[in-house]
């Protein structure tokens, strides 16, 4: 099938993306080192007054129920835990990336953020069940970033999505990723990978983004991380935290069993734990705005 969209136009949109905030670049570099410590994350926050104020505000939100207000950054970060701090840094320093409505996917404002956050908590829970050593510390961030490609792709996709949904409905295209590739010559995973390269993300995150729907095809050293992002994505869709018309429209790669000890019971535990953490994060991070599912 002849692509309906020029991939050159998509690549031009990637090239025109604003440069990444130094805070995010530093955070991702820190997270991808083997032996980073919480202090390394604290150091990113403390030199940015706005970020410090946000972290303190979140720590003092009613969700955490503190009797005495927290006034120091170290204490705030120890209350919140690193996942919420990483979420604050990424959410507050990436402009509209996670929050703009995804018209091509019928996704409302914050749909991408909610999906990615649930996937991130799920990916980090999946990582606990790893059979072999891998960059488990990166699983949360890989889950949080896996779908960034939809941000660039959505306006292009909007023009052809009715045709794609028709093909999927009648079975002439097997799944959503095939529809994206057939109609545009690219898919959101590939576009996310090119964004990650444009922004010079660490290699493991680039690969996890590229292979989050096809983890078995990832280079061996990044395969477990790609599977963690893949399974986190699946969990988020099962929990109803999808990005819109593509919810549950992607196949599960059951090669995960080589990397993770997953049973129906442990999967239920993952969904439960991810939901608890997700709810807490979404409530505390939304102290200034109405949460709208």
């Amino acid at each position: 099938m002849e692509p309906r969209i020029s991939s050159d136009d998509i690549r031009e949109a990637i090239a025109n993306l604003p440069i990444l905030s130094p805070n995010v670049s530093r955070l991702l570099q820190v997270l991808s080192t083997d032996d980073y410590e919480l202090d390394d994350v604290v150091n990113i926050v403390k030199y940015d007054a706005a970020l410090t104020a946000k972290v303190l505000k979140v720590a003092n939100s009613p969700v955490f129920g503190l009797v005495n207000p927290v006034t120091t950054l170290d204490r705030a970060i120890s209350y919140l835990g690193k996942w919420i701090v990483i979420s604050i840094i990424l959410s507050d320093n990436t402009g509209e990336l996670f929050h703009k409505p995804l018209e091509g996917y019928d996704g409302g404002q914050n749909a991408l953020w909610r999906h990615d956050l649930f996937a991130a908590f799920s990916s980090s829970e999946v990582a606990r069940l790893a059979k072999h050593d891998f960059e488990a510390e990166l699983a949360f961030t890989a889950g949080l970033l896996h779908d960034i490609g939809k941000f660039v792709f959505s306006p292009f996709w909007e023009k052809v999505v009715p045709e794609a949904l028709g093909h999927i409905e009648e079975g002439s295209m097997a799944d959503y990723l095939e529809a994206e590739r057939s109609l545009t010559g690219m898919d959101h995973a590939q576009i996310g990978y090119e964004m990650a390269r444009h922004w010079d993300f660490p290699e493991p995150l680039q690969q996890a983004i590229l292979y989050h729907h096809t983890p078995q095809q990832a280079p061996e050293e990044f395969r477990a991380l790609a599977f963690a992002a893949h399974l986190g994505d699946m969990c988020a869709m099962m929990a109803g935290c999808d990005t819109g018309n593509d919810g549950m429209q992607y196949p599960l790669d059951d090669g995960y069993s080589e990397f993770f000890d997953l049973t129906s019971e442990s999967l239920a535990q993952i969904l439960l734990e991810a939901e608890i953490q997700f709810k807490k994060a979404i409530s505390s991070l939304s102290v200034e705005e109405e949460v709208d599912k």
């Binding site: 996704g107 929990a239 109803g240 018309n245 439960l272």
Partner: protein, 162 residues
């Protein structure tokens, strides 16, 4: 209007004319709706997992999250609003329980949720008169107090009645 909007693990019922009970994006979760056509009482629970044995603390904090606790609690709420304790005359419907596109059964939590809900309903002497469950798409469900009508919608698939 006082519509009731349920999140994951919430349950609620209403007899307020003109209102509805609604829940968004079920995924593999299951919504059980109950409706009394004589009293115009409408109730719903948004169940996420089959059995509270998985995590007793979560069951105590949010019983509607599990089929074994949530369905009986919804029924009690219907009784509190005047429905018969025998469950006679209640119109019960099941929605949701979707699954990702998987070749193995591990990820089929939607199916396990549907089976668990049916088992609890049978224990209460009830069964669904209609269901829209399974497949691989997420459903948003609204139950209307005045008519008992159930509307289902899904991004990209439109809206339909059950």
């Amino acid at each position: 209007m006082s519509n009731i909007v349920l999140g994951i693990g919430d349950y609620g019922a209403s007899d307020r004319p003109g209102s509805m009970v609604k829940t968004y994006a079920l995924g593999s979760c299951v919504a059980v709706t109950m409706y009394d056509p004589n009293l115009h009482v409408a109730g719903m629970v948004h169940v996420a997992l089959p059995d509270s044995k998985l995590n007793r603390a979560k069951g105590a904090e949010c019983p509607g999250y599990f089929a074994d606790l949530g369905v009986p609690l919804l029924f009690e709420e219907m009784v509190r609003l005047g429905c018969q304790r025998q469950g006679r005359g209640l119109v019960v419907k099941l929605l949701g329980g979707a699954s990702v596109m998987a070749g193995n059964d591990t990820f089929n939590i939607g199916k396990r949720n549907v089976l668990a809900v049916k088992k609890v309903l049978w224990g209460l002497g009830m069964g669904p008169v209609a269901e829209d469950v399974g497949a691989n798409y997420s459903r948003t469900v609204s139950l209307y107090v005045d008519s008992g009508g159930v509307t289902v919608s899904c991004p990209g698939r439109g809206q339909w009645q059950i």
